[in-house]
């Protein structure tokens, strides 16, 4: 039997909460999520049943059949050896060409969107040209590519050419060792291979590659004429690099067309020689036609668009180079083709239900997408393959609602098929249409953990802010500023034919304030994990006489770490621009095409950011120290440090005092001003002093993903009352789990106080299942969102799942395969998360909406 929410007395009435769907009455609380999936067709039901997810946890793959492939490594190495002496950008294009010409193609039963990035649907590719340590880790694991000897030889070949070898040269052994720990700073991109990108999907769908080749050839023709001008002017030497870039674009695009057409031929062969089902045979011939035309030609209908987008995704995120994410504004991108196929029915006629099925199929393709990430990244997104995040909703220029029937189709599909990925972001605006908002609410209510919600106006204004720093004075226009998507979980970035973020070196990567807090109290020495000097010397306990001394010592630790990691990103950017060019993406970027510059180095729209993770542990620690050590003088700093060194053992009363000190998230008049200042002055203020490659500032994007557990495990006890090894806070600005005691609107009021010097901060909240599934659920959620929006809070994401269900899943994981939770920034299959991680989610407070909260939100019940 389903438990109903308790009645509330509100505005003179007793409000009851009967179920919105009475058919759920007989569903037990601990089995709800297993009863929510409703794939739109039998086909998507079958595809889901056989979906080969590649979830990782604690560095390991859950499915032991998953392993690395060798083809990409082999073919890129072949091409690199054969192209010695050629310009580097040409070598990159030839590498892609060799991979695409020779790689095994995958065509699976039942699927309509085709294409895979490795030689077997259980495999994923590796990237020896990036981080040699990441490949070495695979060679020593159960997931090694085979034959292992060949893979080892390839890894050894690439070591001197790799981004890691290049980047390491410019850092001291001390700095490298500190970054590689992943305890106060994340390891550099050159040592992990981790990346993100926002491909210009619009260009390939609108133009097709044949047109891009034609434009590049035109550029080459003009350049040749300029070179031959009489009299000669040495300024024309600038054209030499551009000529190489345009030539590389042509090589890459021709290879992509050929690769897509290889798929077309394969589909035709299977249709004509092997397929016995007439319906499937017709479908395979349609697939063949689509892959012959796209992405060579512009898309003419919605099926074209889905296939062209999928090929582009595989190339930009896996085949040419690894990149996490799936950044694009999917609804606006596909809306013109939706209109052609569904409204006008002039090409590839479809119904809305057909489109929902197509989105479900795309979601299942993503769910099978494996990523050859380094060990660190196999730890920090437990219960999922990787991060795949698409953005919907928002507004167009003039703040006109951008939601459409395509938006609705994407949301319906997500609700119906229930997969952990891709995740969705919804850009919330007061003008967002009600019909679409209801679908957003249904997804959240059904416990998917997405869409996470971003503030549309704040994101748009942010794009305008960054635009002013453009090095070539061609940042996003006010119109272009409306067209943005989250680059990964949290950070807005423009989409479109130009100016998009092409590498994580521009924005991304993490630093860890909780560990820095530990270092402040030990003169920069990491006694609890690595037993080494991890940060600068910022003073012994004897030097920290006032709270201001502690504050400035923290700033010094933070300033060192932020400059170190962003220097690492810019060093990586330097080498990416010279040795890791991306000719295919460059061919799609109108700026790269116009200027003859590779897209990775080009930076028309700055978007600098970095992720502080575990900030609230540090913030709460500062509050506790100020109160108990420096104001009340109940304990000395030395006494506190003595207690921390023994993990509070024998100091239980002191631990309780520090644990019970005012905490973030309670609209507390003592804690909140200190923590607001901490975020704005240090976390944002110190970071924003940095100028990055693109000429703009770097701003913080408070996050957590699964790192709140990893960093917690490498951080000793902290003055907020936390024990050594305990997980840290699970969001960028979320209260520490279990410490938000004053209700949901108190959390919002606290978070709303932090405004200056921030790009974005992740707010993780947990909604009550019974209220959300009641007849009043939508009104309650809508009023919460309206309040959130008026308070100018950038982000919020929700769990909506009962502890009964979570605990039942811990006991019988095989019975709860459809149970999805929001970890932080991504959703995961709960039963694929380690037990301790599961317990941290169970421990998160569920929001309890009382009449005061409803009154504050002006909820209309």
């Amino acid at each position: 039997m389903t438990t109903l929410a308790e009645n509330i007395e509100y505005r003179g009435k007793v409000i009851e909460f009967p179920l919105d769907n009475p058919e759920e009455t007989d569903i037990a609380d601990d089995m709800l999520h297993e009863n929510l999936a409703r794939p739109t067709t039998e086909r998507t039901k079958r595809l889901k049943a056989r979906c080969r997810v590649k979830h990782a946890s604690a560095g390991e793959f859950i499915d032991k059949d998953v392993r690395a492939g060798i083809e990409r490594m082999r073919f890129i190495t072949e091409a690199h050896k054969a192209s010695e002496g050629q310009p580097e950008v040409i070598r990159r294009a030839l590498g892609l060409e060799n991979i695409l010409n020779k790689s095994t193609l995958i065509l699976q039963q039942d699927e309509f969107i085709i294409g895979y990035h490795a030689e077997d649907p259980e495999m994923f590719p590796l990237y020896p040209e990036l981080a040699y340590m990441a490949v070495q880790d695979y060679l020593e694991s159960d997931y090694s590519p085979q034959p292992k000897d060949e893979a080892a030889e390839i890894c050894e070949y690439w070591k001197p050419y790799s981004m890691q070898a290049k980047g390491e040269r410019y850092f001291s052994q001390e700095d490298l060792s500190r970054m590689y720990q992943v305890s106060s700073m994340e390891a550099p991109g050159f040592a992990t291979g981790y990346n993100s990108v926002v491909p210009p999907y619009e260009t390939i769908l609108e133009d097709g590659l044949l047109k891009r080749i034609e434009i590049a050839k035109g550029k080459l023709s003009d350049a040749s004429k300029d070179l031959e001008k009489i009299p000669w002017n040495a300024k024309q030497l600038e054209l030499l690099e551009k000529i190489d870039v345009w030539n590389s674009m042509i090589i890459a695009d021709e290879a992509v067309i050929n690769w897509a057409r290889r798929h077309a031929r394969l589909a035709k062969i299977v249709a004509e020689n092997f397929e016995t089902d007439p319906a499937r045979k017709t479908e395979l011939l349609e697939i063949a036609d689509i892959s012959h035309r796209v992405p060579a030609e512009p898309c003419k209908g919605l099926k074209d668009a889905f296939q062209a987008k999928w090929y582009t995704y595989l190339l930009c995120h896996a085949i040419d180079r690894y990149a996490s994410g799936m950044a694009h504004k999917e609804d606006e991108l596909l809306e013109p083709y939706y209109n052609i196929s569904v409204f006008d029915k002039t090409f590839q006629p479809m119904t809305h239900t057909d489109v929902v099925e197509m989105v479900e199929m795309e979601r299942l393709k993503v769910s099978e997408h494996g990523a050859g990430k380094s060990r660190a990244y196999r730890e920090i997104f437990p219960g999922s393959n990787d991060l795949f995040i698409m953005t919907l909703g928002g507004t167009k220029p003039g703040y006109v609602d951008a939601c459409s029937d395509m938006t609705d189709a994407i949301l319906e599909a997500a609700r119906n098929i229930r997969t952990t990925e891709p995740s969705l972001v919804f850009r919330y605006s007061p003008v967002s249409r009600e019909k679409t908002l209801h679908l957003v609410y249904e997804c959240i209510r059904d416990g998917l953990g997405y869409p996470s919600i971003m503030h549309d106006r704040l994101g748009t204004e942010q794009m305008k802010y960054y635009s002013q720093f453009s090095k070539n004075n061609n940042g996003a226009t006010d119109e272009e500023a409306h067209y943005w998507a989250n680059v990964l979980c949290m950070s807005p970035g423009v989409c479109g034919r130009r100016k998009t973020q092409k590498t994580r070196s521009e924005g991304g990567g993490s630093i860890f304030p909780a560990k820095m807090m530990e270092l402040v109290l030990s003169d920069g020495f990491d006694w609890s994990y690595a037993n080494m000097q991890l940060g600068p010397h910022t003073g012994t306990i004897d030097n920290l006489k006032t709270f201001e001394d502690v504050w400035e010592a923290f700033r010094a630790q933070y300033a060192y770490a932020t400059s170190c990691v962003i220097r690492a990103k810019d060093v990586m950017r330097y080498f990416e621009s010279n040795f890791l060019q991306m000719p295919f993406i460059s061919s799609l970027d109108d700026g790269a095409m116009e200027l003859g510059q590779d897209a990775v180095g080009l930076c028309e729209q700055p978007n600098g950011w970095h992720n502080p993770i575990t900030t609230v542990v540090a913030a709460n620690s500062l509050v506790a120290m100020k109160k108990l050590v420096f104001e009340e003088k109940k304990y000395s700093l030395q006494q506190l440090c003595d207690a921390l060194k023994v993990n509070w053992e024998g100091y239980e009363e002191m631990q309780r005092d520090f644990k019970n000190a005012p905490k973030w998230g309670n609209d507390d008049p003592y804690a909140d001003p200190i923590i607001k200042e901490f975020y704005e002055d240090i976390i944002g203020g110190t970071m924003s002093k940095i100028t990055n490659w693109s000429g703009g500032p770097v701003l913080p994007v408070g996050q957590a993903v699964g790192l709140y557990m990893e960093i917690g495990s490498r951080t000793g006890p902290t003055p907020d009352g936390r024990y050594g090894g305990d997980a840290a806070d699970d969001g960028g600005i979320s209260p520490y789990w279990g410490t938000d005691k004053k209700g949901p609107t108190a959390v919002l009021k606290s978070v709303a106080k932090v405004q200056k010097n921030q790009k974005s901060n992740l707010l993780n909240q947990r909604l009550p299942v019974a209220m959300m599934r009641s007849v009043h659920g939508f009104e309650l959620w809508k009023s919460y969102m309206a309040t959130w929006e008026k308070l100018d809070i950038m982000h919020v994401q929700f769990n909506c799942v009962s502890n009964e269900e979570l605990k039942a899943a811990q006991k019988e994981p095989e019975m709860h395969q459809d149970l999805i939770v929001r970890v932080s920034g991504f959703s995961a299959r709960f039963v694929d998360i380690p037990t301790y991680g599961q317990n941290t989610i169970i421990a998160r407070n569920e929001l309890k909406f009382g009449s005061d909260d409803l009154e504050y939100m002006d909820t209309k019940l």
Binding site: Q181, R375, A376, M709, G725, Y836, N839
Partner: protein, 80 residues
């Protein structure tokens, strides 16, 4: 539910370097890989009151050992 027995008296396992040890961290069930460098590692023998792990960094996984060494591999469920 975790199947691991808690550490005795919450004392730390005492890691030490021992060249060519017959009980290196690489074969121990409590050891997992370093996030970045495969020649290093992390010891997970120390378990917190809440069931979490307070890890210790291992500089050299092939030549380090301690008295808690136990051959094997833990399930992902028992890690963090």
């Amino acid at each position: 539910m975790s199947t691991i027995a808690p550490t005795k008296d919450s004392k730390q396992a005492l890691m030490h370097e021992e060249q060519d040890t017959s009980k290196p961290c690489t074969t121990c069930k409590w050891q997992i890989g370093d996030p970045t460098d495969p020649t290093r590692g992390q010891c997970t023998a120390n378990r917190t009151q809440m069931g979490g792990v307070w890890k210790r960094w291992i500089a050299d996984v092939k030549n380090t050992t301690c008295d808690m060494h136990e051959v094997g591999v833990l399930s992902f469920r028992d890690h963090v």
